[in-house]
């Protein structure tokens, strides 16, 4: 490590200790006889600690490399500090007189720190139980003083943001909702930056608007729910139109080649990350527009299954017949090449998804967007193929909880006729992913990004026929893979004249 880096590290540590000292002092005051004495210090802290936290986050989030131990420690520190400050803010707020002029600022800062702590959970794991009751208490206090919509200026990410208590309250609830592992650390920062931008537009309604909007039950200890409340308790609903308007404004800005917000940490992330967040919001808006549909029942499970990750591994292991005979036992090649199996603990199952827990494996991490296949037992013909849509740490030691959305329960490896492949020397590995509809309109092929980009018409063997097809769209995608829609250009019997002219096609059909 260079001298400059060492001195920078020492300076960071010094600043950390300084902030910790100030927080400890506030905690001591709160625990004493006069908690409201620290209200001023608490409010003064944000302009100092905010830029420091951003400076800590920037190198971690901008790096393309896996996180180091120092990165994890820094993120844990940010969580601890924000969580402690939220506790200090709440206890100070509970102690001060309701008419105290610093009450609004105190509430706003407390809600801000709660949101900041929730964002860190993507990296450090969910820290349950969440203090939703505390969040609701602040909002109830603001409503009772009719100050929930009053504008409060907060210095956030190098700029002054016009916030409201209501906006900060829903910010914390939305971040808790989206921090469940389906967004990465970068993506949650982008979402947060947009929420801060939208804050003036975030206005709740007491009566449920049409559709299945998100709602906060003020008398509960729960986060956001969906749909109308049936027991008549006090709830706040988030109407869709202002959020849709804000969403369209961001899309329009991207059409014009501008990333929003124009400044700040989120503006430095790649456009592709912004597009991924837009996709998540688009899905959430679509769910909120439709009638409320409860989630499919999850059934608990407790079995260990072998998982295969990536197209090549799935095609060569999970979907190959010889492998099925060897399931549960190590193959000779595994010993020769020290092939270590990736075992996952299946913890719950529904018709649309699988929930796993993964201890740290010797074969590299499974990450968001990976394609994964598991065979559900040695005798089972069912191979579940899915996309990792949620990943969140569950233990300090590096274990992860994974959510997998099932793409198919009957994927098949397809035999590609020789000579019809891409520009690569090797024929592309294709996995046929049948859709639910018998018309075939929802069928697709799992293919690598490279093969998708380079593929022209491809001939595959299906039964006694040779079918020539072409990929024409992307149905879904993830890390290195694409689920491609296709159109059929030609189909002919393997013994037909045109097929006989190509010995490769005939051989392929014979193998099939």
């Amino acid at each position: 490590m260079s001298t400059a880096a060492l001195s920078q590290l020492a300076s960071l540590n010094e600043e950390r200790l300084s902030f910790e000292g100030r927080i400890q002092a506030m905690e001591a005051v709160v625990a004493g006889s006069n908690p409201k004495a620290c209200a001023g210090d608490f409010i003064d802290l944000l302009p100092h600690i905010g830029p420091f936290i951003t400076a800590l986050k920037r190198p971690i989030l901008m790096s393309q490399l896996p996180w180091t131990a120092e990165d994890s420690v820094a993120t844990r520190w940010i969580y601890d500090v924000c969580h402690r400050l939220a506790v200090v803010g709440r206890e100070t707020g509970a102690a001060i007189a309701l008419s105290d002029p610093s009450g609004r600022m105190l509430a706003a800062h407390t809600l801000f720190y709660m949101g900041e702590a929730l964002k860190c959970e993507i990296a450090i794991g969910v820290q349950k139980p969440h203090d939703y009751a505390g969040l609701h208490a602040i909002m109830k206090w603001a409503i009772s003083h009719r100050c929930e919509c009053a504008r409060i200026a907060l210095a956030l990410d190098g700029a002054v943001a016009a916030c409201t208590i209501e906006g900060l309250y829903f910010r914390a609830l939305l971040l808790a909702d989206f921090a469940g592992g389906n967004l990465s650390c970068q993506q949650i920062e982008i979402l947060d930056a947009w929420i801060v931008m939208w804050m003036p537009m975030i206005r709740s309604a007491r009566i449920c608007p049409p559709g299945a909007p998100r709602r906060a039950d003020l008398d509960s200890e729960a986060g956001l729910r969906r749909g109308p409340r049936t027991d008549g308790g006090p709830s706040l609903y988030l109407p869709q139109p202002p959020i849709e308007k804000a969403y369209r404004a961001i899309v329009q800005a991207l059409h014009e080649g501008q990333v929003l917000p124009e400044k700040g940490l989120a503006s430095e992330f790649p456009v592709e990350e912004h597009v991924a967040v837009l996709e998540v919001i688009r899905e959430a808006l679509a769910r909120s527009r439709g009638d409320y549909a409860p989630r499919h029942d999850r059934r608990p499970a407790s079995v260990i299954v072998e998982a295969h990750v990536g197209i090549e591994e799935i095609a060569n292991s999970a979907l190959s017949t010889p492998d099925r005979r060897q399931f549960g036992a190590r193959r000779p090649t595994d010993i020769i090449f020290e092939h270590k199996r990736r075992l996952l603990h299946l913890v719950d199952v529904s018709e649309l998804g699988l929930g796993f827990e993964e201890a740290e494996t010797p074969r590299g991490e499974i990450t968001l967007g990976d394609i994964i296949a598991v065979r559900l037992g040695p005798a089972s013909p069912v191979v579940a193929l899915g996309k990792v849509v949620r990943r969140i740490p569950v233990t300090e030691q590096g274990g992860f909880s994974l959510g997998v959305r099932i793409l198919s329960k009957a994927p098949q490896r397809v035999v590609v006729a020789p000579g019809t492949a891409t520009k690569n020397a090797a024929a592309p590995v294709l996995i046929y992913v049948p859709g639910e509809d018998d018309s075939g309109r929802h069928d697709g092929f799992l293919v690598s990004e490279r093969d998708f980009a380079q593929a022209g018409p491809i001939s595959v063997c299906v039964g006694a026929s040779i079918v020539t097809l072409r990929f024409n769209r992307v149905r879904d995608r993830g890390r290195g893979w694409i689920l491609a829609g296709f159109e059929i250009l030609d189909a002919r019997a393997a013994g037909s004249r045109s097929a006989e002219a190509d010995p490769g096609l005939t051989a392929c059909a014979a193998r099939h």
Binding site: V349, G377, P411, D438
Partner: protein
């Protein structure tokens, strides 16, 4: 000894150069051939992107080639519409863009279809094929406000288009009170059923593709004796030793 070292170094340099530029040395390794595109000569190619005559307004900054805004827009297009366009200029390929928009619509992603055509129209505002496809999708989505908005734009940009009578016919169905479409001749289908659409979205006239897709699905499932689909039954699961 020196000669051997020099030889090895030269060999490595040549190998590195070939790896970077490909065997022909003509194109960099990353350059890819354009995807195979079906002949579709009946489609009028759109005129090139208009270059701004004056320093562009902030919203038009993306029209300046290689500007940061143009690059951001290119990356947005590539990320939002993978497999259809790698950069905004690819949206000129009408034979790819219009069928892609139709497929989005057919798969229940009408907003995505409209956005794709919006982006393409922004690039090539004088293309009537893009605007007509967008109008037809707005019509099929039963979105009267969107249809009227895009029809108004169409009239403004392409006032002499012979397709206007057809647009007005559809407009009178979807927005009967809208003065833009006039009163016209009341067609007999007006109050009876939804009118025929002009197929500006290039839908196939025959059902061959649908039949082939259904047969492919059936054959694939039949041939997959080792891949029977089933429900996720917990009794099937066994512990891996």
């Amino acid at each position: 000894m020196d000669f051997t070292v020099a030889f090895v170094l030269t060999y490595l340099l040549v190998a590195l150069a070939i790896a970077n530029r490909g065997w022909t040395g003509l194109a960099p390794r990353g350059a890819r051939a354009a995807p195979v595109i079906a002949d579709n000569s009946h489609v009028t190619p759109p005129p090139p992107r208009p270059a701004p005559a004056h320093p562009p307004a902030r919203a038009d900054a993306w029209r300046v080639p290689n500007s940061p805004q143009a690059r951001t827009r290119d990356r947005y297009v590539a990320a939002r519409f993978p497999g259809i366009a790698r950069r905004a200029a690819d949206l000129a390929k009408l034979e790819r863009v219009i069928p892609a928009a139709r497929l989005f619509f057919e798969e229940g992603q009408g907003d995505r279809a409209i956005e794709l055509l919006d982006l393409a129209t922004e690039e090539y505002p004088d293309s009537d094929a893009l605007r007509l496809a967008q109008l037809e999708i707005a019509f099929l989505l039963r979105d009267a406000a969107l249809f009227c908005d895009r029809a108004r734009e169409f009239r403004q940009v392409l006032p002499q288009s012979p397709e206007w009578s057809e647009i007005a016919r559809l407009g009178r169905h979807i927005a009967p009170g809208e003065p833009l479409f006039g009163h016209g001749i009341q067609s007999p289908e007006r109050s009876e059923c939804w009118p025929a659409t002009p197929n500006w979205i290039q839908m196939s006239w025959d059902l061959a593709a649908e039949v082939l897709a259904a047969e492919f699905h059936r054959e694939s499932r039949r041939g997959a004796s080792h891949c029977a689909e089933g429900s996720l039954d917990m009794t099937e699961m066994e512990v891996v030793s």
